[in-house]
Symmetry: C2
Subunit: 655 residues, 2 copies
C-alpha cells in the first residue's frame, strides 16, 4: 500500500512541479504586446471604468470591488473577517454579524460571489458570497456596498459549491465540500464511508429585501461537492454540482480521492423538491445556526440563533436527483448561456467533458440508468454526453462564456486560458497565464447574457511578476481583451487577498443604485444624536453612554469629566454631515478596539473601558477639513471612588 | 464669547465649503491629457515598476506597498491593526506585537512612513512608521516586508510629529501632538494651560539590527507638535517641529487654537542633548510602555513592559531648543536637500514661510532673542526668514523637493500642487488635485538625494473620481510627471486606507534585499516540525499541542482523534515547502480566530477550543497545487469525560 502511495505521489509531484516552474518567457512575451494595450486599460483621470468586477478575497474573507479595464481597486467590502479600518466586527453595531453557532468567528474563506438575477440577466441588486470554513452565506447590498445579511449553514463543512443564484434569484445555493456526520456526533473517522453525508442547501431569497431563509437541505452521499451552477433558460429549475472523492476516502486525499476514473455531476431538480416541500415534504431537524441581519435604518445588526432546519432525503423525491458520470475529480460545473450545455472541468482529466441537458432529460425520460449510488440513479456517460474538447490543456478548472458561442476554460497545470467553440468543440485560441490560473470571469458570464468584452484570469502563483515584497508576494489577476477572434493579454493587476472567484457587470447597472449618504432624518439608531444641542453623557451605574456628534470640525461634547476607572463607556457617535464623502473617524487612546469610521448620517458605537486615571485625548481620524487637526477632545478619568461630577462641554471650560 | 465663536465658524465654513465642492471641470480636463499619459504609467505584463512607494494607510493602521508609475498595490503590510488574512494579531506568534500599556490594542492610525538613511541618502533597509492614537513607532524590515518591532511611546498623546529618521538613522523621532499631564494625573481639563506638556522622543536605532530604544524625551510646553523633519547636510544634528495651539486652548480647538498670527517651529539641537545625556544628563522617570520585537529565527514576537524613561528638561541644556515664529498653525515642517531651508507650511496663512538655517545659527550666535516661551528662547521672525512664497495658494500643508532646486507644495483648500523655486521663491507651475490634497511624496524627498521624476499627491476627498461604492468611496492618490518644467497629471489611483503620507525609493535599492523564503534549517520556532516524520500530537492536561506539517498537498497528520470538549488545542504548523511563493493556509471550522497563512519554512500557531463533539474538518486555504482541494483533514472531538485515546495518522486509518 505504501509503495503504491509513493508512486502515485511521484506522478503528482511532476504535475505540481510543472505548475511551480518560473516561466522564463514572460518578459520576452511582454515585448510582443501591441502598444495599444496601454491605451485599452488606461482610464484617464476623471473618467470611469466600464465594468464592476466583484472579486472575492479568498482567504482574506472579504469581497473586493475593482473597475475594468483599469484593474483598480475601489473598495474592500468587509464580509466574513474583522476590519479594523472600518470597525466591522469591532463596533457594537456590526459585532453580531460575525456570530455563529461556534461563537464569534472573526475570519472566513470567502469564495464565490454571484450577482442577483432577474429573468436570467444580472440585475445589480445584491452580491451573494460563501464563507467556506465556518459555513455561511452573506449578502452584500449594492446600494451601500455593505454586507447586510449572513446566514450560517448547518450540517455543512467546507461550504464550497456555493453561493450561486438561480435565474430569478429564487434561491442562493450552498453545497458542502466535506462530508461530516449529520447530525454531528463523536465517531471514528475511519467509519466515514456510508456514514458521513453531504448537504446541498437551497436558501430562498425574498424578492423585495433579499432576506435569506433556508428552504430545505438535501442530504446526499458522503462525496465532496466541489462547485455548482444553476440551470438557465431551458434548464431553469435544475442545479448542477460537481463531485469528487466518490471513493469516500478519509485520509491522504490527494491520493485516495483520485482513484476513480469518473466522479459525478449531480443534477438536482429543485423545482420538484420545492413542490414536495411546499406540500409538507421533508423533516424538521434540530440544528443551531446563526442568522445575522444588518438594518440600514438602525445602522445595527442583530443575530438570531435558529433552532431547526428542513431536511430532504433525495430518495423520498423520485426523479429529483441524478448522477452524471464525469472524468476525473471535476472542479468547475458551468452552464452555458442557453442552459443546454453543462461543462465538467475534470481537473485530473486530459479532456473536457460537456454534458447535454436535452440528452439528460431524454435519458431520464427513457429511464436509461446505469446503476445507483446510495439509491440515487446514475445515468450512462454516453447518454448525456454533448461532446468532448480533446486535449485542450492540463488541469481544467473553470469555464465561462461570451454569449457569442465561445467558451473560455482555465487550465491550472498548463497555466493558460483556452478558447473553444460550443457545439464544434474545437479549440480556437490559447493564451498563457502567469501563473497557474484558477478561476476566470466574464461579466455576466453566469447568466443568459454575458458581456463578452473582457475576461479576467485569477492566478494562484505570482512569483516574479511584480516588484518583490519578501516571502509573501501579491496575488494577481490578468485581463484579456476577448472582443476579437484571438484573445489579447492587456494587463497584470495585483489583488488584495486571493482573487479566488469573481462576478462582474456593466457599471451602468449599479451606478444609479449607489447611495451617496445616509439621511439623518432616517436614522433610527437607538442612541443617535440628531442635533448637536442634544449631545449629552448619561451614567447608569458603572455604564456610561456618551451621545456625541461630529461635524466639521468638532465633536460635541469635546470635553468630558466624571468618568471613572472601571466604567464601561459607550461612545455613540452620530456624523451630522449631509454631504457626499465626508466621513469622520474616532477612537480613544488605548482603546482595546478599532476606530469608528462614520459615514454622513450614520451612528456608530465603540466601548471604552478606561484602566488608568488621567486626561486622555480623542480625535478625528479621517482628514475632514482644513481644521481637521483641531478636531479633538479630552476625557478626564478619575479613580473609581472619586466624586468628580459627570460633566461635559463644548467651547467652554468645565467648572 | 459665543457670538465671536459663531462668526469665526462662519468664516471657517466658507473655507470648508470651498474644499467640498465637486470640481465640475474634472472630466473636461482629462480630455486635454496627452495620449502618452497612458504609455507613461503602463507597466507591461512581466515588467517591473521603477519605484517603490510606501504609503501609510492612515486610519487603516497599515503600510501599503505600491509600484510607481503604475499605481498598483503589491502588499498591505500589517503594522498596527489586526489582519485576519495574514493572521497578524491573531496567531500566537504575532499577538504580542499589539500589546501596550493599555493592554491589547488591535488598531491604530498609521501616519508617516520614513525610510532609513545612510549618509543622508535613503538606504532601503527599514521603514519606520508612527501609530498616532496609542503612541507607538513601528519598524518594517524590507527584506521580509514585515513589521519586526513596535515600541510604545510613553508621556505622549496623538503621536503625530513622527516618525522621521536622521540622516544616518541615528534616531527615529516621535513628537506628541496633544499635550497631556506628564506624568498622567486626574486633573481638571480647564487647568491645561501651563500644566499639560508635550514630549519629543528621540529613539535610537541600532545600526546593525535596527532595534529601537528611547534615548531621551524632551519635555516641552503644552503646544501641539504637528509635524517634523530632521536637519541634513549643514543642519545635521538639528530637528525641526511645527507647533500649533500655542494658545494652549483646551476646547473648541478649531476656533480657540487658531487665534495667534504666528505659532512656532521648534528647532532642537539633538546632538547637544545627546552629549548632555551621554554625560548622565536628564532624569529617569517611571513609565510603563511596551517594547515588542518579532524575531525572524523563532518566527515569534515577545513583548516586554519597560518601566522607566529618561526625560530632559530643555531649560537644563542651554542652546538646545529655540522657537522660530511661523505663520499660522503650520502643518508640514520640511527641510530641503541641502539642509539650508526649513519650510513652514502655515495652513491658515496666505503665504509660505521659509526659514534659513544659516540665519538661525547667526541669530543664535548673536543672541538675538525676541522673548521666551516657558523659558525657551524665541528668535525674531525677520532674523531667521529666508524668504516668502507670496500667495501661492490656500491652505499649504506639505512641501517636498526634487533635488534640482524646486519645491512642490500641496494646498488643501485650493486643491493643488504648486511648484516653486528655492531661493527666488517664484511660483513656476501649479496643477489641480482631485480633491483636497494633503501630503505629497517624491521618492527620496526627505533626504539629500531626491529622485525627482514623479510626485504623488495624496488626496482627502474623492467623490466622483471613480465608480461609486455607496456612501464610503475609495481614498485616492494622483501621480504627476515632474521630469519637465511643467508638471503633468498622469494617473488617478485609488488606495486602501487613507493615503496619508508616503516614502519612496528606487526599486533597485530594495529588490536585492527581498527574501524569497525562510530557510527551514534556520527555523528556531520552539514548536517547529522540520520533518513530516516528526509530526505528532502531545497532550499536557487539558492543553494539546499539535505538531503539524504542510507540503503539497497534504497535512501531517491529517486525522486526529482523542481531542475533547474543553481542551485548548494549539496547532503549530510548519510549512515544509522551500520554493518561492508556495504558502499554505489553514483554519479549523468554527475556530474563534483567523486562518494561518504560512510562508515556506515558517511555523505559525493558532489556538482552537472545541465546544461541540463531532468530526470537524480543516483544509488548506491557499490554492497550492492541482490537488489543493484534496488537502484536508479531520479532528474528532469527543466529550470531556471520554476515553477516546489520543491518536493521529496520515494515509492510514486510526484504529
Amino acid at each position: 500500500m505504501k509503495n503504491i502511495l509513493k508512486s502515485t505521489l511521484v506522478l503528482l509531484s511532476v504535475l505540481v512541479a510543472f505548475t511551480s516552474c518560473d516561466n522564463a518567457s514572460s518578459k520576452s512575451n511582454s515585448g510582443a504586446l501591441s502598444s495599444s494595450a496601454a491605451e485599452k486599460v488606461y482610464v484617464a483621470p476623471g473618467e470611469h471604468d466600464e465594468f464592476y468586477a466583484f472579486i472575492s478575497g479568498g482567504f482574506s474573507g472579504q469581497l473586493s470591488v475593482y473597475g475594468l479595464p483599469s484593474g483598480r481597486l475601489f473598495k474592500v467590502i468587509p464580509v466574513f473577517s474583522q476590519d479594523a479600518e472600518k470597525a466591522y466586527g469591532y463596533n457594537e453595531e456590526t459585532k453580531p454579524m460575525l456570530n455563529t453557532s461556534h461563537g464569534f468567528v472573526p475570519w472566513d474563506d470567502a469564495h464565490h460571489p454571484d450577482i442577483s438575477q432577474t429573468n436570467g440577466v444580472v440585475d445589480g441588486r445584491w452580491v451573494f458570497i460563501n464563507g467556506n470554513n465556518t459555513p455561511r452565506i452573506a449578502k452584500i447590498d449594492l446600494s451601500t456596498f455593505e454586507t447586510t445579511e449572513i446566514i450560517e449553514v448547518p450540517n455543512s463543512a467546507g461550504n464550497h459549491s456555493s453561493s450561486f443564484v438561480t435565474e430569478n434569484s429564487e434561491y442562493v445555493v450552498a453545497g458542502t465540500r466535506f462530508s461530516v456526520p449529520i447530525p454531528q456526533k463523536d465517531m471514528p473517522i475511519k467509519d466515514y464511508k456510508g456514514n458521513f453525508k453531504g448537504s446541498l442547501s437551497f436558501i430562498s431569497i425574498d424578492p423585495e429585501h433579499g432576506h435569506m431563509d433556508i428552504k430545505f437541505q438535501l442530504i446526499m452521499p458522503g462525496f465532496d461537492y466541489d462547485l455548482s451552477h444553476p440551470g438557465r433558460g431551458k434548464s431553469h429549475g435544475w442545479f448542477f454540482f460537481t463531485t469528487y472523492n466518490t471513493e469516500e476516502a478519509s485520509t491522504l486525499m490527494e491520493v485516495n480521492a483520485s482513484q476513480n476514473d469518473k466522479d459525478f455531476i449531480a443534477a438536482v431538480n429543485w423545482k420538484k423538491i420545492e413542490e414536495y416541500v411546499n406540500n409538507g415534504g421533508g423533516t424538521m431537524m434540530p440544528a443551531n445556526y446563526a442568522h445575522n441581519v444588518y438594518d440600514e435604518a438602525t445602522h445595527s445588526a442583530t443575530s438570531t440563533m435558529k433552532k431547526e432546519v428542513r431536511i430532504v432525503n433525495p430518495l423520498d423525491v423520485p426523479g429529483a436527483v441524478y448522477f452524471l458520470p464525469t472524468p476525473k475529480s471535476p472542479h468547475g460545473c458551468d452552464v452555458d448561456p442557453t442552459g443546454e450545455y453543462i461543462v465538467g472541468n475534470g481537473k485530473l482529466s486530459a479532456n473536457l467533458t460537456v454534458h447535454s441537458f436535452t440528452k439528460m432529460l431524454n435519458a431520464i425520460e427513457n429511464n436509461k440508468v446505469a446503476g445507483d449510488a446510495y439509491g440515487i440513479p446514475i445515468l450512462n456517460f454516453e447518454d448525456v454526453l454533448a461532446g468532448v474538447v480533446e486535449q485542450p490543456g492540463l488541469g481544467p478548472l473553470h469555464t465561462e462564456f461570451d454569449g457569442k458561442g465561445n467558451a473560455y476554460t482555465t487550465f491550472f497545470i498548463s497555466s493558460e486560458v483556452v478558447k473553444w467553440k460550443l457545439g464544434t468543440w474545437e479549440v480556437v485560441d490559447r493564451q498563457p497565464c502567469y501563473y497557474s490560473v484558477g478561476h476566470l470571469m466574464i461579466p455576466g458570464g453566469n447568466s443568459q447574457k454575458p458581456f463578452g468584452k473582457y475576461v479576467v484570469a485569477m492566478n494562484k502563483i505570482t512569483k516574479d511578476r511584480y516588484l518583490p515584497t519578501g516571502p509573501e508576494v501579491t496575488q494577481s489577476a490578468q485581463l484579456y481583451d476577448i472582443s476579437g477572434e484571438k484573445m489579447e493579454l492587456l494587463l497584470d493587476f495585483p489583488t488584495v487577498g486571493e482573487p479566488h472567484y469573481a462576478a462582474g457587470c456593466p457599471a451602468d447597472l449599479v451606478k444609479p443604485r449607489s447611495k451617496k449618504l445616509f439621511k439623518l432624518e432616517d436614522n433610527k439608531h437607538p442612541y443617535a444624536t440628531l442635533n448637536e444641542a442634544d449631545a449629552k453623557v448619561v451614567r447608569d451605574g458603572k455604564t456610561v453612554h456618551v451621545y456625541m456628534t461630529t461635524i466639521r470640525s468638532h465633536f460635541a461634547p469635546d470635553n468630558i469629566e466624571g468618568i471613572k476607572v472601571g466604567d464601561k463607556v459607550y461612545f455613540h457617535i452620530t456624523n451630522l454631515e449631509q454631504d457626499y464623502d465626508v466621513p469622520h473617524g474616532v477612537s480613544m487612546i488605548g482603546a482595546n478596539t478599532s476606530e469608528l469610521l462614520i459615514m454622513p448620517g450614520q451612528t456608530e458605537t465603540f466601548l471604552w473601558e478606561p484602566k488608568q486615571i488621567g486626561v486622555w485625548p480623542f480625535y478625528c481620524t479621517d482628514f475632514c477639513s482644513a481644521l481637521h487637526q483641531e478636531m479633538q477632545g479630552y476625557v478626564r478619568v478619575s479613580p473609581a471612588n472619586s466624586n468628580t461630577p459627570l460633566k461635559w462641554s463644548l467651547g467652554e471650560d468645565i467648572e
